[in-house]
Symmetry: C2
Subunit: 443 residues, 2 copies
């Protein structure tokens, strides 16, 4: 009897029943099934007809030689209603492939063993690993449990498939890095991915426009969405996996658990976006629990968000290290943001004024001529003269506690939020300030 | 040169400096230190003088034979101020032991190599594993990374030491089970530990009286605490590790993150104990993040707590499975509770009335003569006649949503809370009820 591993898939009709019937037919034909893997859900490859695939692998024993075994598999496929010979891109009621046949290597026009595309298909290799971790791949000459998937990126939409994929990554000894995003990726996001890749982590990017962090009057519905373009950018930046769940999956009916960082979430932007940070910390906690990364990367442009998430991770004893990455800016200084897409040409031309204001404040503080309070007030007065800018706030705070700077150490965070037309932009700067300087001058 | 592993410990004076100076002296004497482990904090063994130990292990190379090496270690201990020869139970400024000397096995009255008690000491084996995972124990004939600590229980108070210990357990392939408690252990808690042990999990028990789940007028300060007795019960029940942190460690200054299961936390007990369930879900989430168990066990006596924690785990995508364990009762039916200790003899004699009331309600419902509403009302009237019992609530709800039973499926949760003197007791029962029966009768 030879040990074999068969891959089974279906994306047409009652998928589970098709596979089960196929395996029953296999048993009836004398193939002895030893172990069936869990069933994985897996989006169809681009260009393939039909919906999502269900995939599994089977460890079995047979007396059949490879060619008669292949003929048997084709017959069982046919019995499931699939035309034979079949076309490459058609939807499949049942797909049965010989992945391995003992330690044989066969390379004829009709039959290649081991399956030539197995190593690029996580939905083949992971079920195979599950049913036969110690089975040795005769080409790689290593056991399936020791095989690390190559770096081609996969897009996963199901939490269960994500967990399965990442648990295999973890078992291979690889550390995991995580970049949560709302899509509409720009160089700022790509800098996060690159920071993660630089540390040789398996890089997971989530793309999820989180409804709970938008207010009722905000831009949730018009927020830019383009998964195909985002996936391409993510792949090029070197990420390994995109997790792109639906809102229904993240917040199923009856969802009711929220996490809040009291005392930080109401400050700065929180004053103007009630509930926003509750939505942010809740979805980030959920994603961290799903991905269980060693490190997670966040942009410094969203300074308050980063501060809250660091505090949450510390307070809740999360095992993930939270890392802030420097803001990426346009040549004229405008901080990159997905919302920059909304700006009219005139607004876009004006937008760098926000960062210029922050730099001027830093410079004025360095001069030590005026109090911080006066410097901020003058900056606000200058901004209010600009007819295209509607200032929401301009504040200086301690970058850890968001408390007034009188209580700060020698660093302050100056944060700004302003509307340009209907587009709300934020920016910030953190700089050193002479010790004791602020409290005396601003007193 | 022979590869050696030296264990270093101190529980007297400036512990870190003592160890560092000892290692410097070792280097000065020609021993080549290759790697020093992290420093572990570790409570002194019972009967040993002095405070908490600091322990580390060192991988080194030496030309010295074992006997001269031992003499050198004794001299270095002496230099640290420790009398030679030393007594077994004294506090130690510095303790240096040869754990391994290459693959040698030596057994003379003065010198045993490998160290004979290494395998029972996680604070020896884990630092050793850290500096030399592939070092082979010549007695066990396996590498240190493959060694699984035996089942003798340890008590850990530091989160960092807990993480280190559990990460070694996890790497050895062992699954982890978790039983969070507030101490004052009784058979109800031990049933949770036994349920965990039955599944062959590495069993972690936390003992922490959580201040955030007590109201200002409640019994936080008088809640019974007896770590020594609890540790003994826990050990006998077969647990592997107690985590007993201080309140300061769980809620350091500036703590501000809370998790809430909205809509469930305000019902039943939540009506009378505002903030209680916010405190419960927050501390449980923190402990789950620290322990990262595969399964966590909770008693069904605290029905609402179990329902909230299950919902939180589901909503926040926690990787832990939450398991409810049947309430343990005294022979007269009283549900076991740490607060039963508060009852006067007369109150204790009356207390089983709560459970008798629940059983009578179940029986009356089975008769299908009266509506649920009427049955509950009559039960409350009977209870109010008892001068020792002050009923707080007696309610029937859906056991998943805690919504009124009109919306329930075929199961209901009947929950009761009552004061006996100043002691508040709760109990509950879940039973099947005829479909459609409730809504018609109670309409």
């Amino acid at each position: 009897m030879a040990k074999i591993i068969i891959g089974a898939g279906s994306n047409l009709g009652n998928r589970l029943q098709n596979i089960r019937q196929g395996l029953k037919n296999l048993t009836d034909a004398g193939v002895k099934i030893i172990k069936i893997s869990s069933y994985l859900k897996n989006p169809a490859a681009e260009g393939t007809a039909g919906g999502e695939f269900l995939n599994a692998a089977v460890l079995a024993e047979t007396d059949l030689e490879p060619e008669p075994l292949l003929a048997l598999l084709h017959n069982i496929e046919k019995d499931s209603g699939r035309p034979q010979p079949h076309q490459p891109k058609e939807a499949r009621s049942l797909d049965l492939d010989i992945i391995y046949y003992a330690d044989r290597i066969i390379n004829t026009p009709n039959l290649q063993i081991p399956h030539p595309r197995r190593l690029q298909r996580w939905f083949v290799m992971e079920p195979a690993r599950e049913v036969a971790p110690d089975f040795c791949d005769p080409v790689l000459k290593k056991s399936l449990k020791k095989y690390v998937m190559p770096e081609n990126m996969v897009v996963i939409s199901q939490a269960s498939a994500l967990r399965k994929r990442l648990s295999a990554v973890r078992e291979s000894g690889r550390k995991i890095g995580f970049v949560p995003t709302m899509g509409a990726l720009h160089e700022g996001h790509l800098a996060l991915i690159r920071a993660c890749r630089k540390e040789k982590l398996f890089c997971v990017v989530s793309i999820f426009v989180n409804p709970t962090q938008f207010g009722p009057a905000e831009d949730y519905h018009k927020y830019p969405r383009n998964l195909k373009k985002d996936a391409e950018l993510t792949r090029k930046a070197g990420a390994n996996l995109i997790f792109a769940p639906t809102a229904k999956q993240i917040y199923p009916t009856g969802y009711r658990t929220f996490v809040e960082v009291a005392g930080l979430s109401e400050k700065l932007c929180g004053k103007y976006r009630p509930g926003h940070f509750r939505g942010v910390t809740t979805v980030v906690l959920k994603l961290l629990n799903l991905v269980q990364p060693d490190k997670a990367y966040f942009g410094r442009k969203d300074a308050q968000q980063l501060i809250l998430i660091k505090k949450m991770a510390q307070d809740l004893n999360l095992p993930t290290e939270i890392i802030g990455v420097t803001t990426v800016r346009e040549p004229d200084g405008l901080a990159l943001s997905s919302r920059n897409l909304y700006l009219s040409p005139a607004e876009r031309k004006t937008a760098p004024v926000l960062y210029q204001t922050l730099l001027r404040i830093q410079k004025d503080c360095a001069k030590q001529e005026n109090s911080l309070k006066k410097i901020l007030k003058e900056a606000a007065v200058r901004l209010k003269k600009n007819p295209l800018i509607k200032l929401q706030y301009l504040e200086a705070v301690d970058p850890d506690t968001l408390e007034p700077p009188e209580k700060a150490g020698n660093k302050i965070l100056v944060a700004i939020a302003a509307f340009l037309g209907s587009t709300r932009l934020i920016d910030n700067i953190i700089f050193q300030i002479g010790n004791g300087k602020i409290s005396k001058k601003s007193a």
